[in-house]
């Protein structure tokens, strides 16, 4: 009986490609429904509830959490996060572009090795990479000892535990995210187009501005998304390098969930972060078409 049913089930699967496709996709969809979509919906709901006296959640619909985010304190945190993420994105674009360009133009044999060298730090744990910079920037760190020994400064520079340190750490963290999509985009540019431009009498820098740069816009956009989004939500770099002064949205959310235990307010802050980053992504993606550049 059961084996008959199984047989008819496999038979229908065999003959119907549509149900084959559904059978293959359903475990993924079920899993993501339970462990990704439902948790996100829960956060949406939480953001409209309020905190009880003991850190519990009171089930009464209200907009209090969102209104509270309009306080100047939280607006400052939001503004500071946007500024930091934007500056990080710009700096990694400026540093990363020439590097990606160099790799894309290198001979094929060297190219894969040069790319491999970008991938190693990309895959090295990011806390380790932060730690490397702490060693360099701290008061008795390598930067200060070197500068003191050279006589360039008399007192050690206080860089660690300032917003500057957070900026340095973030740029270093996210640079590979920028270089990889830029490289993918630049590698695709056909030399023939540049040659055509040169044949028509274009100066190299003109050919670059008129041909290469516009053609690499999708890579620039993909890289910017890949840097901007994680930079907006970052709380680990400010934790380790920023001291108490540097609070980003990521820190705010973390604190609401783990120390202040005001989950509804934390959820509202998460929603603002999520919607903000979604809007930025969609705006960018519409211009470039979220292509393979994003998928490294």
């Amino acid at each position: 009986m059961a084996s008959n049913r199984l047989k008819s089930f496999t038979k229908s699967l065999r003959e119907n490609p549509q149900s084959q496709g559904l059978a293959l996709i359903s475990p993924t969809m079920l899993y993501l429904l339970v462990f990704m979509i439902m948790p996100l919906l829960l956060v949406v709901i939480l953001s409209f509830l309020s905190r009880g006296p003991y850190g519990n959640v009171i089930y009464k619909f209200n907009l209090q959490n969102y209104l509270r985010l309009g306080d100047s304190l939280y607006l400052r945190i939001l503004g500071f996060s946007v500024t930091t993420a934007t500056l990080t994105t710009l700096a990694s674009l400026l540093i990363g572009y020439p590097l990606a360009y160099y790799i894309a133009r290198a001979p094929a044999k060297q190219r894969s090795f040069l790319l491999f060298l970008i991938l190693v730090p990309f895959w090295t744990n990011f806390i380790i990479r932060i730690y490397a910079w702490i060693m360099i920037l701290r008061t008795e760190g390598l930067l200060n000892t070197t500068l003191l020994n050279l006589g360039l400064i008399k007192v050690p520079l206080d860089i660690l535990y300032t917003p500057t340190a957070v900026f340095i750490g973030m740029v270093y963290e996210f640079l590979p995210f920028m270089v990889l999509p830029l490289f993918t985009s630049l590698e695709k540019i056909e030399f023939i187009q540049l040659e055509a431009a040169a044949d028509l009498g274009a100066q190299p820098w003109r050919a670059f501005l008129r041909v290469t740069l516009p053609l690499s816009v999708p890579g620039m956009i993909a890289g910017s998304i890949l840097v901007f989004i994680p930079a907006m939500g970052m709380f680990v770099v400010p934790d380790l390098m920023g001291g108490a002064k540097t609070v980003l949205v990521g820190n705010l959310i973390r604190n609401q969930f783990l120390t202040a235990r005001d989950w509804p307010f934390g959820a509202a802050a998460s929603m603002v972060l999520l919607i903000g980053t979604l809007i930025v992504t969609l705006l960018y993606a519409r211009r470039a078409g979220l292509g393979e550049e994003v998928l490294v």
Binding site: P27, T28, R105, V236, R254
Partner: protein
């Protein structure tokens, strides 16, 4: 692009950029052999910190937890994610676009949001936070990445070969085992490699889904770094960088062999 020689300034720039990328890591590695405990000036060569690391019970437990979670989440995510990749690449079904966009969620969502949402979910659903919840969370963020990688490799895979096998009398299972699997295996392997590394490396989502006694290596490194700059952290970091270097190197070689085979 062309293989013309790069302008001198660009070559100098590239060298400087690589120095910028690697100098901090090299300093980290060099100081892991430094005998000075405060790790400020170079005093002399020692392997003491590596020995201390191997006797550090907390580090060993964290490493064991990390590997356990990475293995479990990689296995599950690779199987499920590969199925999804096959579905998306070779079938059309109702809800196709929805499925495709769902898979983008973890790519475009800030990690901290995913972390707190899972924390809230596990708390509401009454899950005990620990190795189990960390693994469930890792599977969730790994599935989409496996699917993306496998799908990219499936691109250009000719379905006619499978049909030919069936025409020659092979049943579905034989066809899958002898034709489909060998063809997609390199893609599946790189998907699995990606999942394994992502899991091993994850701090943010693990941080929110971990419970007492389920410290992973990144969590342990974080608390060590926060506590003090000691050579033991350098030793651990060095071993980690070395492991990544080896894993990536294997991946690179496998890729080269695969491209030769075609």
């Amino acid at each position: 692009m062309s293989e013309k020689k790069a302008a001198p300034w660009l070559r100098i720039y590239a060298v400087l950029a690589y120095v910028y990328i690697y100098l901090p890591i090299l300093i980290l590695i060099v100081f892991s052999f430094n005998s000075q405990k405060l790790n400020i000036r170079w005093e002399g060569f020692t392997l003491r910190w590596y020995g201390a690391l191997l006797r550090d019970q907390e580090v060993l437990l964290a490493a064991r937890n990390s590997i356990l979670i990475a293995v479990v989440s990689t296995l599950v995510a690779t199987v499920i994610g590969t199925m999804a990749a096959l579905a998306l690449q070779r079938y059309r079904f109702p809800g196709y676009t929805l499925a495709e966009s769902t898979l983008y969620i973890p790519v475009i969502i800030p990690e901290v949001v995913m972390g707190i949402s899972l924390l809230a979910f596990f708390a509401q659903a009454g899950f005990q936070l620990g190795l189990g919840t960390i693994s469930l969370a890792h599977i969730a963020f790994n599935i989409p990445f496996v699917t993306l990688v496998v799908r990219a490799r499936l691109h250009g895979f000719d379905k006619a070969i499978e049909e030919a096998a069936m025409d020659l009398g092979a049943n579905e299972i034989t066809t899958f085992r002898r034709v489909t699997l060998p063809t997609i295996l390199p893609g599946v392997m790189s998907g699995a490699l990606l999942a394994f590394t992502l899991s091993l490396d994850d701090y943010v989502i693990t941080y929110f889904t971990a419970g007492p006694g389920s410290t992973t290596l990144p969590l342990r490194v974080f608390s060590m770094v926060r506590f003090a700059v000691t050579p033991e952290v350098n030793a651990l970091s060095t071993l980690w960088v070395l492991t990544i270097f080896i894993i990536l190197g294997i991946g690179q070689l496998a890729q080269r062999r695969q491209s030769k085979a075609f």
